[in-house]
Homo-oligomer: 398 residues x 2
Amino acid sequence: MTAEIGERDGPFIPGPRAMLAGAATGPLAGLRFAVKDLYDLAGHVTSYGNPDWARTHGTAAATAPVVLELLEAGAALVGKTKTVELAYGLTGENVWHGTPINPHAPDRFPGGSSCGSAAAVAAGLVDFAMGSDTGGSVRIPASYCGVFGIRPSWGAISLAGCAALGPSFDTPGWFAGKAAVLAQVGAALLPDEPSAGLTPGPLLQPDDLWDNADPEVVAALRPALAAVARLLGQPTRLQLCPEGLATLYEGFRCMQAQEAWATLGRWITATAPAFGPGVGERFAAARDMPAAQAAAGRHLRRQFQARMRALLAGGAVLAFPTSPIAAPLLTASPAEQNTVRQRTMGVTAIAGLGGLPEVSIPAARAGGGPVGLSLVAGAGQDRMLLRLAEAVAAELRL
Amino acid sequence: MTAEIGERDGPFIPGPRAMLAGAATGPLAGLRFAVKDLYDLAGHVTSYGNPDWARTHGTAAATAPVVLELLEAGAALVGKTKTVELAYGLTGENVWHGTPINPHAPDRFPGGSSCGSAAAVAAGLVDFAMGSDTGGSVRIPASYCGVFGIRPSWGAISLAGCAALGPSFDTPGWFAGKAAVLAQVGAALLPDEPSAGLTPGPLLQPDDLWDNADPEVVAALRPALAAVARLLGQPTRLQLCPEGLATLYEGFRCMQAQEAWATLGRWITATAPAFGPGVGERFAAARDMPAAQAAAGRHLRRQFQARMRALLAGGAVLAFPTSPIAAPLLTASPAEQNTVRQRTMGVTAIAGLGGLPEVSIPAARAGGGPVGLSLVAGAGQDRMLLRLAEAVAAELRL
């Protein structure tokens, strides 16, 4: 299939492909990767998904250090991938470069904002691909496209040389077709584990997050949850968010909006860029975000982080549907997309507010597309989480 | 004295002063503060210490969220302060805006890059002032100017809306004339403590860091160390950095340079800005930094972080001279400045590489100017450290 699709349907930025050889030897030697077009590559323009950004920012003078690390570890860069404009959207739509086809559900959105990276992995064009995640931008396309994806602990990996959206939430992240490759990349990029040797468990099953998902998603993911339970023991059920997922979403949304406008408002105001559907509206809402709402979000985050720390410090792992709904159809109306967005971001806000690592495992299909099972651990326990994801993948024969 | 000094000698950015009222009530009500001119204020130009930066970046559309938090807590903003250009220097010199006078050592540099914020506090013009710290830019001016200063744990406080230098090292930070105010600001900005209720101690006295300091600095700070020992018990002596401070400095310098060029190289290349002495040279070195040297720095950081985590997790506190040397004379040659820089950054690299919180206490005078005693704790133990600093200040009757 991939040979037949054109630039507008493919995962890469249209035009000549950025290519960089990796070191001859190293732990990632022989692997091919791509990077979302918000990672700078020296001598290349970083578009951030938007033609006016590309036009006004010019050529990068340096390559983002995290990309250099991957090259030093032996991986070969074979292209830059599409992103939602300024990384501010979850469907994966990009009207300028074309929305990449979701290889495993061609009638549905690929998810975003790291749409091209997820689609490139799903199509088998690369072994892994770097994305970035602020409010779900790795986890959601991983779920929609049926690939492994990780949002690491906030702050674990440098974002120098990467375009920002909401700095106190922004993380890099990556996709892989195999759990072993997901972990290999982590071994190259992640800092040493603060609690090395921590054993994962107990397994926690948040009823509120399962209740929030479509019944067909829940049913499809039950075998995967059972596989995790075979490894960690029967799950302990709990209400993770007594304040309600809508409250989490609201807190996250208001803080993210304030940070997004603080980060990008100057450029948007000065440039008046052309945006595709929804993006400009979201930035207008960010501009108009009342400070008191963002302050309430910060208050919520403080409490939520303390709660998650207490819950997860000993190695406990949360398991829940990455996305409560399969990928929306490409024909979904803006109103339908918005409903999906709200329900989804109540879930993705958990790792976002908590600064927690989350791995999405391509465990099933439901509602017309792939759906992922998420595992979330305490901050700094990324390596433990990646080892667990490998074991779960083996259990599921993925 | 302060009434007599002009704009070129004062701590504030020349021209009309940025002023913003704080909330009527709140934990910081009644306090006046200033911010280094790398924090965005809506409707104001952020100069980052450089006229070409100001000219090419235009007016900020939003106020940095951390500044909003301070206003919401009741503090009143009374100005923006001078900074070394692009925050890349430790003396505090700024040829465009004028180097602020060091109120407690007028023949000496104020220290940088947060020179104006430290000088404004030292002159009693504000109760506290926000700076930022990548490689010592809060700690060194705090020591040189004889005020309290904190570099918080990396990542603890959002830098959205602040200009960046080396993202994986950049932190905000603040200065205060009183330890209680330093802690009050921390209470408003810091996240809840991961290890709340942790008792500080034991006290660790790194021989290598004391041996690195001038004998007069060591002698002047002995009473302060004794005061800490009265609170925490007799210090345990150790060699903190068997690899040598020069090796720490080298690792830090190479990583910081790579990140600085990844962050600012595009703008410097496109704009060819005019820089004052030393700044352009440092960016040229950053541009030419071999990737392998930065990679070696990352390797060092990984090991160093793991070692510091093991050493400090239980509440242990390091105490050592913030700067091994008092502030250099304004007449110091570039070569002399460079020697001071190298000896100093072997020390400041500790919290930088480790992501650790560090408080500098204005404990003594030596060699013609103030010198600070630094206390360093484990990452995330900022509140504990601020409480300890208050107790030490009381013990020293500061």
